[in-house]
């Protein structure tokens, strides 16, 4: 166990070092959500009730989807190059390789989420501290699951990586658009509404909106938590299996 902890810290520090050396990178990575927040959010202002309470959680869910995907992409690049192979020849714990990377993805997500919230405050976003904390905890569960899934996908896609691009492009955007992150699904035609409600992300988005409005007891919070935990469980199972089978095949 102590070896596992030490190895997790080793992997986590390795992944975090480039961020600490160049923190500006975090902001550049946030370019898209920031644009959405300022350009799109302003447009929505007034269109969907208290728009910031509605829009900020959506942006956070969006970041929580793209962040772990980029963690998988980083792993893929290392699998295609020689650096992952080099690490695999060391006694470094295999599970720690994934856990450390996931932790780095979560930490960067948290920092970016806090930044978004702080930037939204002057725009009129109301801070419900308990709800925001619960919301972030839920998003972290989702992030762990998605991170593990994207690691498994990266392992499966090496050495050429095509599969990764195909899946991440064809899954990520529909998941996002069908979750009502950017526009409400309320006025969607029946079939779209059905598709939206098969999408686990939709439940998380609805839960986030309830939580960020300070409503901790709404039924959607429960559904969202269940959805996030299911994604986490599926991700951890798949990711661990991919690691066991070896990232070297």
């Amino acid at each position: 166990m102590t070896t596992f902890l030490r190895d997790t810290v080793t992997v986590f520090s390795r992944e975090l070092a480039p961020v600490l050396r160049q923190p500006v990178g975090l902001l550049i990575e946030m370019g898209q959500p920031l644009l959405f927040l300022f350009l799109f959010g302003v447009l929505l202002d007034g269109a969907v009730g208290s728009s910031w309470q509605w829009f900020v959680p959506g942006i956070l869910v969006m970041m929580c989807l793209t962040g772990p995907m980029s963690a998988g992409y980083t792993l893929l690049v290392e699998l295609i190059g020689g650096s992952m192979e080099r690490l695999l020849v060391t006694p470094l714990n295999r599970t720690a390789m994934l856990v450390g990377r996931t932790m780095k993805a979560l930490v960067t997500f948290l920092v970016q989420a806090v930044l978004i919230i702080v930037l939204a405050l002057p725009l009129g976003f109301e801070l419900h501290a308990a709800g925001v904390l619960a919301g972030l905890a839920q998003l972290m569960a989702l992030g762990v699951g998605l991170g593990a899934l994207s690691f498994a996908l990266a392992v499966k896609s090496a050495p050429d990586g095509t599969l990764f691009y195909i899946v991440s492009q064809s899954v990520l955007f529909p998941l996002l658009l069908l979750s009502g992150v950017l526009l409400p699904l309320d006025s969607a035609p029946g079939w779209l509404d059905v598709l939206g409600h098969v999408n686990p992300v939709t439940y998380v988005v609805e839960a986030q909106r309830a939580l960020f409005s300070g409503d901790l007891t709404a039924p959607s919070v429960l559904y969202g938590t269940v959805a996030a935990c299911l994604v986490a469980a599926a991700g951890l199972y798949t990711g661990n299996a991919a690691m066991r089978r070896g990232v070297t095949a």
């Binding site: 030490r6 080793t10 390795r14 020689g82 650096s83 080099r86 020849v89 060391t90």
Partner: protein, 313 residues
Amino acid sequence: MISTRGLTRVFTVKKETVEAVRGIDLDVEAGQLVAFLGPNGAGKSTTLRMLTTLLPPTSGTATVAGHDVARDPGGVRARIGYVGQKNSAGENHRVRDELVTQGRCYGLSHREAAGRADELLDLLDLAPLATRTPATLSGGQRRRLDIALGLVHRPALLFLDEPSTGLDPKSRAEIWGHILALRQVYGTTLFLTTHYLEEADTMAERVVIIDGGRIIADGTAGELKNDLAGDHITITTATEQDARAAVRVGGGAAEGVTVRLRVANAAAALPEYLRTLESAGVKALTAETSRPTLDDVFLTLTGRSLTDDDLPA
């Protein structure tokens, strides 16, 4: 240091079974420098990947640095160093950071790992590059970093997969300088693959030739050449008729006005050969002797030239 018995690896590619490595028996003593030579697809890298625990064997056993690769991969990993075909450092990471991380991977404390990283930066002339990222390094510098990463835990056995491929002659010479120094100073056992024949020839004290997943020759470069290829005498004559006459008298094979024949010791055989031709009335215009190359050895063994199908992977 390495001992394998019946080491085999089978891949299933699109429902077709490919035997990449077919029953390799190999023993390497501590302190040896072994070059593993063969055309692409011969099974060099697959063998190396099994020996370094990256790939489980389909059957057979391999004991590396005293530990079984299948039963105790952790024991093997702690004791071997590996320099892969591709560059080992992560693109987003600084040179020194990666060396420190590598030390941490082997269980060194942060302070120990940092000390070791600085030692290696000096040893491989990388100190001025410590804060750079790999993308800003030259091919030779990157390769030196790869070797530094493989040496962090002072392994007694170092595997190198094509250490000098793709480098200019000067960088290749530098890399070899470092590799040979390692051996001299630390007595490191070195097991490397290469497709540069002259490298295997001049640097390795033992050459193992693999083809079609099997070891087809094993010995010092000198032994292999004497036993399997022999020296050559090449003469040219004024006419093709003379060349054919020379073949009738002295053997060998003619090609135009050139006659080539294989002998055990060309320098000693040449004067006698020329006298024989002379007395048969055949006049040689030029005569030269040549030592065989490892490619001649491979040609004798397989009927193919190593350089023919040795396309880049």
